[in-house]
Amino acid sequence: MADDVVEAMIRKFGSHFPFLEYSWHGGEPTMAGIDFYRRALAAQTAFYGDDTSRYRNNIQTNGIGFDDEWMDFVRAGKIALGLSHDGPASVGTRVSRSGKPIADKVEGTIDRLIERHDFHPGVLCVVTRANARDPDGLYSYFKAQRVGALSLLPHLGAEPELRLTPDLYGSFFTRMFDLWMDDPDGQIERLGPFDHVMAKILGLPRSICSWDAGCFRDLLSIEPDGGVYLCSAFQGDDHRLGNILTDSVADILDSPNLHAARAAQEKALAECEGCDVLDVCSGGCREASFFSFGEIGRRDPHCEGRRILVKHVAGRLLDKARHFSQGEV
């Protein structure tokens, strides 16, 4: 991404929105080099001045080549760090360009972050048919890795052979919840998406896009050429909203493609009408619909699994609440 794109993004969106979280994603975002981020942070300081309450940064990296210089840089710059890591080499699907599993490199990065900075990073684990078969093994693995938080994201991409079946979705996620909830060790402080699901069941204000009908409302994706898209899952002319270098924010937000996407979201949500867990599930992810059905305006393909998950979590919490409530032990 060229410096003029970064500068336009900060200036135009920063002028329009009261708060922004800059999520630096890739490909692999560290490939841009530390100097790129030094300039980006300087551009933010130039725009926002001392008012750091109006923005935050996070970076989502595969952790390869994340050396001490990178670690010191993100810590000093207060950049929230997430590692993409799908489990041990035997079940993780991430590989290097030469096709070798990269799990051991990420493990080394986690060890070093803990050793050097006493920092237990959050890990984003894409759940596939490969690593979902053994939830107990996967939970033990991440616990042994001493990660501070774990977010489980069902595989949504174009490879159908990796996608979870509804049964596997339900069995994997409910088992992971039980393992985490019943683990007396608090090392993995948060487990996503359950932290969001529990909060929504209790009416607490926290959620992520896929559990809060956030599509086409809370996120915009900016590509290196300045192209603005619905979210990073959607590319191509049908999903392009404009270009930050040449278009105003008002025009981008009035783009026919954004209106069409929101109409498709409404259509998908209409399919959820009458669902008993709608206020917790919120209808899921349109990327999942798009990759499964070829169109955005369809119900989330993990619908059944999501319903099982929500009810399982609510049931388990109710059991615990009964157990611990006064006079009813």
Binding site: F17, P18, F19, E21, H25, S53, R56, N58, I59, Q60, A80, G82, L83, S84, H120, P121, G122, V123, L124, G148, A149, S151, M181, D182, D183, P184, D185, G186, R190, P193, D195, H196, M198, A199, I201, L202, G203, L204, R206, I208, C209, S210, W211, R217, D218, L219, C231, L253, D276, V277, C285, V310, A314, L317, L318, K320, A321, F324, S325, Q326
Partner: protein, 84 residues
Amino acid sequence: MDDFETTKKQLQDLMDNIDPATVDQVKFRRLVDAFRASMGHGGTRLSGGEIAYGRSYERSSGHEKGHDKADDNPWSDSWSKAMA
């Protein structure tokens, strides 16, 4: 009220009457604490990374233990209004 609504209601009523000090399970204690704080009964609000911002991108897992406080949640309806 359907079954799920009943479950939620029962849960919320019970949660409000649990003394976190009596809960010896760390995950559940944190939740009780957070729930009671949201009800204005003291306790500790949930904190950390993406959560503190309200609605975040599910492909980001950045998290620092105890780093962000929900109290200084900068997210508000004004963002959604600006997006409209």
